[in-house]
Amino acid sequence: MSTESDSHPADVLVDVERAPSTRADAPEIDLDIFREDNVGNPHPMWATMRELGSVVYLSASDTWVITRYDEARATLADWRTFSSASERVYGEEMAALLGETALTTDPPLHDKLRGVLSEKTAPRALKQLTEQVMAHADELVAEAVEAGSIEAMEKLCQRMPVDTVADLIGLPEEGREILLPGGERMLLTFSPHSDRLVPGMPSVEEFANYIVTMTNREVLRPDGWGTAILDAVDDGRIRQQDAVPLMSSYLIAGMGTTVHTLGFYLNNLAQNPAAWAALKADPTLINSGFEESVRVDGPAQMLYRAATRDVEVGEHVIPEGRRIIVSIGSANRDPRHYSNPDTFDIHRNPVDHLGLGYATHGCVGQGLARLEVKAVISALLRRVATLEPNGPVEHSSHVPGFAGITRLPISLTSV
């Protein structure tokens, strides 16, 4: 990775010739980034850390946090230096629980596992699904407009991804109610603070058992994505033990993230009448609005890595083997990269945001997420005249590292 051109972001990273002491030379802060108030509203905390340094050492959890855009992007682009392998990032015990997925492995295994998923989720594979996703979104929105005042998380944002992804995987109708709460529970396992996991462990196990039960030709629809995983095992493209973790990738990463991406986009439109008006006047802004909403309010606020060598990031040394959090939530609001970073600007079109990750581990389901979210927003544009807040919005504060909305009351008037 030392042959990058001048314009490549990896230049922010410098090889450290001699091993430094393991002393943390980055500015240190004693802050619990997993505490509920910080999870519920992470942006003040990110702003404080970002101004302190491009890399900040969290003494409470012995972790280095990368806070600024350039450094975060460079880190995500360099998988050799910044490993995603779960045993490095989370320790052996958690690694056993998480299994080997595209999210928790490095190339070359990563590429094989990702390939099975992306074969289905890449935009070219999604083309044939567009019509059915649009039609389903239109039904949901028609019901919502009929009702007039809705709690949009329950009536729209949760239904769209759960229905869509469950159908695509080919899951039986029965038992789907476990998908959202189970997936959310599993996200807790990505927190390095395993003591917080203890009360939730029974439901983590319940969902893990559901996934194992579903990884079976007898229960899956033969033409679904789940069966395609089992086919890949039979073809010898992946190993037997890869099937269940790949199913869990669809089930954990493919639902809650889209639910909240949609929730935040709706909320940003409801809170910004000028943006809604601009979108009504020019529906092609729907793409820009999607990227901008993910930039200011991405569900995934942080990504985990581990340093495979002593490495200098910004002006600070992160020692080999230590855990790193790349705060994409912070990077996406870095004023060094985006002007007025806290403002939702529907015209901005920030296609270089890091809200869906970047490079090797860039979100494999981003095409599907865009399809689902835009299907709902375009149905709203067709059917709705006004979209307004209708009560206090409540934010999720119980899943460390993830932002989300738990209650989103809005009122809609028909065109």
Binding site: S5, D6, S7, D111, P123, R124, A359, T360, V364, Q366
Partner: protein, 67 residues
């Protein structure tokens, strides 16, 4: 002299490159990126090529300087 390096294995066809630099990148019939211009890049296209490469969500594109 600059040229575009494409890691075809990484391209999943999100089309961000085409959105930013449609005169240089285009998704082909299979939904994967193709490069519309001759290489090495004429100087006047380097800026646009870099802008399109920069926004690839999977870092499949890179404009490299030199031989």
């Amino acid at each position: 002299m600059s040229h575009i390096e494409l890691d075809r294995e990484r391209c999943e066809g999100h089309g961000t490159c085409e959105q930013i630099a449609p005169n240089i990148y285009q998704l082909d019939d299979e939904g994967l990126v193709s490069i519309l211009v001759d290489q090495p890049l004429p100087d006047e296209l380097v800026g646009a090529a870099e802008a399109g490469a920069r926004v690839c969500p999977l870092a499949a594109l890179r404009v490299v300087d030199g031989s």
